[in-house]
């Protein structure tokens, strides 16, 4: 994977959070290409249409209407064409029980959304190499950022 130019997909229904994320990516010292979807159903449609060229990393919000992040994660990890896609779960809650279930389901990194911009840039910057390395090591290491 070319970590200098990552294709990132964000699934989040909150427009403010999406803009915040986009600004944070632009503050990183690497170039990224961001595509945003605003719900779980839209996400699964997008992935199903692009199985030949999946993103390098998916940032997945948990609380979304109609199909939530956990349902999407389960579908992705049980789909032969998508299961290797690195998934960073992105949530406002830091509940440990939920985190454990997400890791068992196949998430690589869990980020508890920081409330300030500088911290968001930092956690995204840390998360990208973590998500990338798990492709090569069968996802054995699990990371919680901003515990």
């Amino acid at each position: 994977m070319n970590v200098k130019h990552l294709r990132i997909l964000l699934a989040d229904d909150d427009i403010d959070d999406c803009n915040f994320f986009k600004d944070a990516l632009e503050a990183l010292p690497i170039t990224t290409q961001l595509h945003i979807v605003h719900g779980g159903e839209e996400l699964m449609d997008h992935l199903n249409k692009n199985t030949e060229q999946l993103p390098n990393v998916l940032f997945l919000d948990i609380n979304m209407p109609r199909k939530n992040g956990f349902e999407c994660l389960s579908e992705i990890k049980s789909n032969e064409k998508m299961k290797d896609l690195p998934v960073v779960m992105f949530s406002t809650s830091g509940e440990q029980d939920k985190i454990n279930i997400l890791f068992k389901t196949g998430a690589d990194v869990y980020i508890c959304k920081p409330s300030n911009f500088v911290q968001l840039v930092q956690v995204i910057h840390h998360a990208l190499p973590m998500a990338a390395e798990n492709i090569f090591s069968n996802g054995k290491l699990k990371y919680v950022l901003n515990a």
Binding site: Q96, I99, F103, Y110, P114, S115, N116, V118, Q119, Q122, V123, H126, P129, M130, E133, S137, K140, L141, K142, Y143, V144, L145, N146, A147
Partner: protein
């Protein structure tokens, strides 16, 4: 850039050797030293003339003075409280983690059992432990959750 000075406090000799092997596999060379229990650690750190490490990796289960006691003392001392501390433990008990973070730990690593993974988590821990602090509080990291 100067080499990072890494101090490890761990009473388990095998774990110390394992850690040292992982450090030597890193892309950037570092200076490494180790102490083997909590009392030895605090004696070293309290010595006025000693140069403080850039990062302390701190095992929790140590004889005489355990890692939690050391962390508490470090964070109460004006001269030591800015020292970045990475807790290094075999346990993944999450109730311990929140107390450690409240006490001032920066990063929590659950010791991986293979060398390649240990190299990876140490590599990630360096920038996390040394990143600048911001007014709204630090970020807390759990590696190998």
């Amino acid at each position: 850039m100067n080499k990072l000075n890494i101090l490890l406090a761990d009473d388990d000799t095998d774990d110390c050797l394992f850690f040292q092997q992982a450090l030597s596999a890193l892309a950037e060379p570092v200076n490494f030293s180790a102490v083997y229990d909590g009392e030895q650690l605090m004696q070293l750190l309290m010595h006025e003339t000693v140069q403080l490490p850039d990062i302390l990796f701190l095992d929790l289960n140590m004889p005489r003075k355990n890692g939690f006691e050391c962390l508490t003392e470090i964070k109460k001392q004006e001269r030591l409280k800015g020292l970045p501390v990475v807790i290094f433990s075999t346990s993944g008990a999450h109730e311990h983690m929140s107390i450690l973070f409240k006490t001032g730990a920066n990063v929590y690593i659950r010791k991986p059992d293979n060398l390649a993974q240990l190299v990876q988590v140490i590599q990630h821990a360096f920038p996390m432990a040394t990143e600048k602090l911001f007014s709204n509080g630090r970020l807390k990291y759990i590696l190998n959750a």
